[in-house]
Symmetry: C2
Subunit: 392 residues, 2 copies
């Protein structure tokens, strides 16, 4: 690993690997093929935008750990991980995007050489970038293996954050504070949406208070006027209008760690419906923050939120949050827990969530969200962006 690329002590990687091996043993798998780029990074440090081709980290319960990817990415593995060069294995370029051969066929050959072909192998069957053909290539080429779906196994190990991880998330929190300061400085009627986004991206990469900004796993989502009824639209070149509201779903990122934070911005004089909902969502957030303590469940937080909403005549039929941390596009969630009524996971200290009490109506929407660390005395916000309807 290059010194300039080290983000964690070697010991932190070792303890993550140990934790993962323990979970593998408990789940009855001897080998894990880890495709999720965030899981690959968390286990080894690997950090390149190379997840558009097949690649993975292999970890076994008897001590093996190796990176497997495209030949031209081996150098990136050398620069960003502590792996010995003998544990950086790659496939030839003719396996890249070819209808005739698949990188998982080549990996099967490596498994045979390493006598990993008669093992119980965990797969991330519903994680990003592990395609149906990748799975079927493995089934076909490793007929003596037993394959078991362990989609969230590594993701779950990431749920409780280390001190360094919390530090990075708070730095990401500083980054998003800088982004909103920029928004408040530059947003004005007549500005094209893409010009507002240009400022957001500039402030996001520049960073804040000495902390640089990394890329975020979503691009800035911006819902202006009636488009705010849709929650995942991106910008075009239409101008912002006076007396128009918009939600901004944004995050700061530092060293691949995220701190999402959404706000609603109104240019002009907001109608009563914005002010009413601002008050309600503020109450929801205050209630929720208190509840982000060890022992409470995801469902309790969701139920409390739903009850507060109901008291004021609102409802929301989708989950109100998810765990966050290290991530790569297309998602900054960790895909383990959900803040919904059916999730009885018990919170532990230093879990981190994006509490997401956003509501989308038929012709407008309102987002005001917080990223929160679970603390013994209740939740701690990871950023400090004014928690209000932003008006300019």
């Amino acid at each position: 690993m290059l010194d300039s690329r080290r983000k964690f002590e070697s010991s932190e990687f070792t303890s993550r690997q140990d934790k993962t091996r323990k979970a593998m043993t408990e789940s009855g798998v001897e080998v894990m093929i880890v495709y999720d780029p965030a899981n690959m990074n968390w286990l080894t440090g690997y950090d390149c935008w190379s997840f558009y081709v097949h690649q993975c980290v292999i970890i076994t319960t008897n001590g093996e750990l190796f990176w497997y990817g495209r030949g031209i990415d081996a150098k990136g593995a050398e620069f960003t991980t502590d792996l010995d060069i003998s544990n950086i294995l790659s496939y030839p370029d003719e396996y890249v995007m070819s209808p005739d051969r698949h990188p998982m066929e080549f990996l099967a050959g490596i498994f045979k050489e390493k006598s990993l072909n008669k093992k119980r192998i965990g797969l991330e069957k519903d994680n990003y970038y592990f395609s149906a053909r990748a799975a079927e290539s493995l089934y076909r080429c490793l007929p003596d293996s037993t394959f078991i779906d362990q989609t969230g196994l590594v993701n779950w190990q990431r749920a409780v954050k280390s001190e360094t991880e919390i530090t990075y998330m708070k730095r990401a929190g500083k980054v998003i504070e800088g982004v909103y300061e920029r928004v408040m400085k530059v947003a004005e009627p007549g500005m094209r949406k893409n010009d507002l986004v240009a400022e957001i991206m500039h402030a996001g990469a520049q960073g804040n208070q000495g902390h640089y900004g990394d890329y975020t796993s979503f691009v800035p989502l911006i819902g202006v006027g009636e488009e705010a009824a849709a929650c995942h639209m991106t910008w075009n070149d239409q101008p912002l209008n006076n007396n128009e509201g918009m939600f901004l779903e944004l995050a700061g990122a530092y060293a691949r760690y995220h701190c999402p934070c959404s706000r609603t911005l109104y240019l002009g004089s907001p109608p009563q419906q914005y002010l009413d909902l601002e008050k309600v969502i503020n109450e929801c957030i205050e209630n929720a923050i208190e509840m982000f303590k060890p022992g409470n469940t995801c469902a309790q937080i969701s139920d409390n939120f739903t009850a507060t909403l109901k008291k004021y005549g609102y409802e929301k039929s989708n989950r109100c949050g998810y765990p966050i941390g290290l991530s790569y596009p297309p998602d900054w969630g960790e895909r383990t827990m959900s803040l919904r009524g059916t999730d009885d996971t018990v919170l532990e200290e230093n879990m981190t969530f994006h509490f997401m009490p956003a509501i989308w109506f038929e012709d407008w929407g309102f987002e005001m969200t917080e990223s929160v660390r679970v603390g013994t005395a209740g939740g701690e916000c990871l950023s400090n962006v004014p928690r209000k309807l932003l008006i300019k």
Copy 2:
């Protein structure tokens, strides 16, 4: 579709759908489940950052076409497609990222209602976001269907661009010209990499000559000093040094259409190896551009490139380009053809490629690339960035 979101005439979507249905018939499939977000957009216009959850477009040879995704994204489908509301179908939120139920199980129910469950169904088994579990959920819930891998079927229909598509790619070309103008204006020794990227992203979203910038499917890749030996690393907060070279792998984007263009930038006095390679790559590009005409093959372009390199004592063991156009993260390539010696695809007018004669050595790298339209008189560059080693 909202007027402000219309990028193509309805007739262009219809002709794309017709073309796809014809290819389906030729391939012996009656139904295609289309997961690739670029394919979904190309067929219907659907354009939201919602591909982090399961979603697809279903097209059948007997005239059906519907969007299927998460409930909260239906509004985005209404705003960005011409589909009738009855053809925007969604799954309930408890299917989102749940270990107990999968959106493809819910889709299987819809297939039964629509009598699509005894058909020959094409799947994009090795396309983005179609996970192994998505496939296996379909196999289990639709035992009377026949599933056939048709990974590239829709991607191939996208290969030859329409006039409007070429116009958008040229606008993306203008955007990347503006980005490099900004780079030449601001890059200097001592600047942190993230601050250079902030300027690149700002110029990229701002756009150029009246054309806005959309997000690109890769973030800016920057390889500075020894890190230029690795081809897919992203920025951190290290400063640029005097007498240091770096490659910039960048693109402009307009309405999701891309124009990639890489350059190498040297701050200070470049050593001879940079100047030597600049000359060689320039010759490679000039030769290649002439060859981008109908009737030539991908292999011929690759072979010509390899021969020119060899003449000067260089070699490159990976493909030297790929088709481009409409795309979403994590890749701006179309994943059909490759510019490599084994690909005998014959070029047609208005195919578009990123010609990528980049070379990475043990401790440095050099990128100078062009996006090219196949034209009857030879290739036409889609942007006009000074084709040289950038020195400042």
